[in-house]
Symmetry: C2
Subunit: 454 residues, 2 copies
Amino acid sequence: MSESPAVALNHARKARDEVLGELRGFLSIPSVSSNPKGHDDIKRATEWLSERFRALGLTRVEVLPTAGHPAVYGETLSAGPSAPTVLMYGHYDVQSAAPLGDWDSDPYRPVVRGDNLYARGSADNKGQIMACVAAVQAVMRAGSLPVNVKFVIEGEEELGSPSFASLLEEHRDLLTGDFVLNPDAGMLGPETPTIYYGLRGMYVCKLRVYGPSRDLHSGSYGGVVHNPIHALSHMIAGLHDADGRVMLDGFYDRVRELTAEERAEMAALPRDEASYLEQSGVSKLWGEPGFTPVEREGARPAVDVIHILAGSPKSAIPAEANAIVTARLVPDQDPNEVHEGMMKYLKESIPSTVSWEVKSYEGFPASLTDRNTPGVRALSKAMVEVWGKEPLFCRSGGSIAAVGQLQKVLGLDSVLTGFALPDSQMHGPNEKLHLPTWERGIEALVRFLYYLAE
Amino acid sequence: MSESPAVALNHARKARDEVLGELRGFLSIPSVSSNPKGHDDIKRATEWLSERFRALGLTRVEVLPTAGHPAVYGETLSAGPSAPTVLMYGHYDVQSAAPLGDWDSDPYRPVVRGDNLYARGSADNKGQIMACVAAVQAVMRAGSLPVNVKFVIEGEEELGSPSFASLLEEHRDLLTGDFVLNPDAGMLGPETPTIYYGLRGMYVCKLRVYGPSRDLHSGSYGGVVHNPIHALSHMIAGLHDADGRVMLDGFYDRVRELTAEERAEMAALPRDEASYLEQSGVSKLWGEPGFTPVEREGARPAVDVIHILAGSPKSAIPAEANAIVTARLVPDQDPNEVHEGMMKYLKESIPSTVSWEVKSYEGFPASLTDRNTPGVRALSKAMVEVWGKEPLFCRSGGSIAAVGQLQKVLGLDSVLTGFALPDSQMHGPNEKLHLPTWERGIEALVRFLYYLAE
């Protein structure tokens, strides 16, 4: 081991409070990408990031406009054309924090309680972006970066990255590199450094079922007119059989079966039924028979209705009932084929006593990345140094549209990792970042930057 | 026919604009009984009514407190103890007007468009209260009332009259009379004067299904943890079989079967499938096989989920899913037995992968009233004079808790009628009162007051 990591690690430790303070500032900006009135907050977040990138000493910093929210780009190519170039991906947008009443403290006033920093975006994804910034800063303070670094931080990840593929196409030359570091995938536990090699894809379908032309008094029409809530419930109930298999026609046809080797590897992960039970708070797990929870999360597709809304406490048969149906997809499912199966199912399952409409749908496929690349090897080695053990390789149940888009448009594989723990409550109330793990993550990234150049 | 009705009818016609102006004032008070912050509006409505009763010349006007919203009482006993006493029932509370966006005009700024007065409460029930006031006023202006009149106008009808039975018990002596006139039941069409002799009862159950201990990222847990939306939908879907029969155990056991005579009478009503289709805006009716829509509405019980709410557009498996399940009951169903059937069904139909809780439930039985009473005969005769035809006798699908309570506590039968048309959008947006029908209603009530004394 050269001298350089030791010096840089020292810089990282000294800058801990400085970076944590900056992260608090970043987290106080409610950059909720789904908020139609959030334009000013999005702008503040891009300005904050641009300023931070300039302070870091990046030589080219730009806000890249898109059809939606802009991305923030920054680069330092001081290592020269013969050194590898790593593209660091992240997203400055966050999920809505509603309902606020479920939070123990204001989601946009970051607060440290015990070992955790609580705020919306602390784990997903601002804390991870700042881990990358902190690592690059420490290495630069120790001397010079041995690799070229480009940051591309988008603002629409929580919307499914609708503009990111176009951005990549438009800035194809700017965003070239050797591979992507994506710290948005998290890790399995504080003592379990993790590198992901698979992500599930996503399908989202917004459905509206129409009953009467207006809300009807349920006294005058109860038993006479079909309630769209009942029709919608019938549809949702039929999405799965009693055992938890998805009933959409052809849904499993293209699902790539797990090899015996993959199953053995998954069985060896420190994720057993008990850990899922503990982290979810349910008394019994559920899902497709014949597969373990780890397999169901990472390698089997799932359908979930994430939102239903109809009627009111008024005694009326409502004019409409709404639902958002989602699917998490695995290789080699095609979102368009899943949509065809959904449409066929809707046609068959929704009775003719009501009408219905798919208001919108969208999706992107799952992705698997190569586990034998210089990027993965460098991160793996860095993790061994920090945690004293080999990282686990596993497939995540989550979905990051950008990973597939980077693969498709730029031909870049992503090294998927992160320092958010499974109980970090991403998307939920009291989202938190485990600070000791985050600090180890920064140390791992410092080493990674050196090992990449070896 | 004595001279008196003619003079009183003339007074009623002359006072038309005056009464309509007063009704607009009454309607501008948003006395929504379900609004926890509506205390001031409730108070304004009781003050408005008290003032109006005093202006009418009632000799005793009181606001009667209850455990909930108060009732307003007013009486004139000038006809003396040998004359009949009619207790006029009404409710000054209204349903919420939300969502306001569905209204073409402000629900609390009454506006006349064409033949209709649009406002929340115009049909249900403030317009009907003012029809009674207008009729009593016209008769008093023509000379003296030939009968004693008591008004009891409650403030919790839209909540199921939770305090009304206690009020009746507490003021048993004050509220004695010969029968009740209840103009909250409406009529079948502008040319179809209607007297109802039956109302359905009501059962309401608020249910919460619990999944994980907090909202879970649907990527990490989709296919691993049972989504409470799916469990709730399964429960709702199973409430009916494919034909529309209610599947609760014992639900139909106590339902009083229709006689051949009743079925023939119902078949003769001007309410065919086409009229239900037109008024509801659906393309196809729905409900228990073997019964006509009129029978299903008036004489068969029904189960409707009126509200479902769970999750959000965020990609999460929600921690809970909520529903309000209601039933409209018919003689001789017992709300407590229906609740037992519901509990048994919930236990059987909600899978053990989630938990659940009934947050609250309440109910009251259906009621049938005697069709051969002096009150019904007087109203019937009055309607013949105004509309030139016999009124229709029918059973309403709606539920008025007060009718059963008045029967049970005071032994008083209700004459059920009203001048709200089926398309008046009670409980919905753009509620309206058909003014030509309302004016004929006032004329019918004027005559009714005279014929009662014959």
